[in-house]
């Protein structure tokens, strides 16, 4: 996975600290998982690594990990397109329990 990491942003406290309205590209402040009601979970037995799920993820949260494809749950919004489009039924959507982590 190759994407920006989340930073702790220092908000301006004085006139001299207020930036011009042009910003460094790729700055993440918080995570997006609050959208999610269910999460995709891979069945690595069934997954053949065709990468179809990766291609159709609007968020870019599926990545190649040490034990096959992984999901970045900090940013997955749980839309379920990956599960629906998987021809090998290797992804299942599991309801979130209570608060997101």
């Amino acid at each position: 996975m190759n994407r920006p990491s989340t930073v702790r942003y220092q908000y301006p406290k004085a006139l001299s600290e207020i930036p011009l309205p042009i910003a460094q590209a790729g700055v993440l402040i918080d995570i997006n998982s609050g959208f999610r009601t269910s999460r995709p979970v891979f069945d690595h037995e069934k997954c053949v690594g065709c990468m179809s799920c990766y291609a159709v993820c609007p968020e870019g949260t599926i990545y190649r990990g040490e034990s096959g494809l992984q999901v970045d749950y900090d940013f997955c919004k749980g839309c379920g397109i990956c599960a629906k489009e998987c021809r090998f039924k290797a992804i299942s959507m599991v309801p979130e329990e209570g608060e997101n982590e």
């Binding site: 590209a25 700055v27 959208f35 609007p58 749980g78 839309c79 379920g80 397109i81 629906k84």
Partner: protein, 298 residues
């Protein structure tokens, strides 16, 4: 050159250039952006006018584009790109791409004049219209690319008026009528086809234009996991087509022998729920007329 190696779903670069944004779950627009940026890579200058994509990715202090990106005024995605491109030429920059992502309204309505001007100048820019068939950012209002019969907040399913009264503008023909070097239609339902076309646009020496069908689950009233499948169905039932225009020649990338029933596609979507059989037949009639014209002209 990396471009010479064909990009497939298996070898897409790992770098995410549009990430952590606040788009709705299952957003067809952000899927379009992500896929296109995979092909174009980090040496890209992006222009996004006032639309969902800029609203979810330029909100201080979070910045969700990993490459250079400019949130421009609504009517002039193309003109802003032209300015960037002219400056890049003046500065003798090499190995860069200028791309713009405007929605259906931002392209076929308010942005059409600036787009026409850019094609006329043949500036080396890639213009991408991600089409979700209404002004979604402002809460689903009718645009020139909203299809016949679709319900929006400004073309409601009322007692005397049943959704949009006119057909979807033929944007692809408007663009090709300029004699543009490269234009294509695509769909998030067909990622490999989309990727191939972006690669062609990237190699194009003049203006290129991609019209990409990008469903909006919120505006279409479909489940959030069906963005890709409903996009596929649009092609299968003949209401969308995958085509290219290159060196003055049209080419169909997919020419279905027979179409799946329009009704099946229509009835899955809340925005068409109010349509009666006559109105669905009218949509079918329009579809058939389009395909007769495609087969005759192309």
């Amino acid at each position: 050159m990396a471009e010479n190696k064909k990009m497939t779903l298996n070898n897409l670069p790992e770098e995410e250039l549009f990430f952590g944004h606040k788009a709705c779950p299952g957003c067809g627009g952000s899927l379009t952006l992500r896929l296109v940026m995979k092909v174009l890579g980090p040496n890209t200058f992006v222009v996004v006018p006032a639309n969902c994509m800029s609203a979810v990715s330029f909100y201080y202090p979070a910045m969700n584009f990993g490459c250079n990106a400019l949130a421009s005024a609504f009517p002039c995605t193309a003109a802003t790109m032209s300015g960037i491109e002219a400056a890049a030429r003046a500065k003798k920059l090499e190995d860069y791409t200028v791309v713009g992502f405007a929605g259906d309204g931002g392209t076929a309505d308010i942005g059409l004049q600036a787009l026409s001007g850019a094609i006329d100048r043949n500036d080396r820019i890639i213009y991408i219209c991600y089409d979700n068939e209404a002004y979604m950012n402002t809460g689903v209002q009718e645009s020139g690319l909203t299809p016949f019969g679709a319900k929006t907040t400004t073309s409601p399913a009322g007692k005397v008026q049943h959704g949009k009264l006119t057909h979807k503008k033929n944007l692809f023909d408007i663009i090709t009528a300029h004699g543009i070097p490269y234009a294509a239609t695509a769909s998030v339902g067909y990622p490999q086809d989309l990727i191939n076309k972006v690669a062609k646009a990237k190699a194009c020496q003049g203006t290129s234009f991609l019209h990409i069908m990008a469903p909006c689950p919120t505006g279409w009233s479909v489940p959030i996991d069906s963005t890709v499948s409903v996009a596929k169905e649009a092609v299968e039932c003949g209401l969308w087509y995958l085509a290219e225009y290159e060196n003055g020649e049209y080419k169909l990338n997919k020419d279905p022998k027979e179409f799946t029933p329009v009704g099946d596609y229509i009835r899955k979507q809340g925005r068409f729920k109010h349509l009666n059989e006559d109105e669905i037949r009218e949509i079918e009639r329009q579809r058939d007329a389009t395909w007769v014209r495609i087969h005759e002209k192309w």
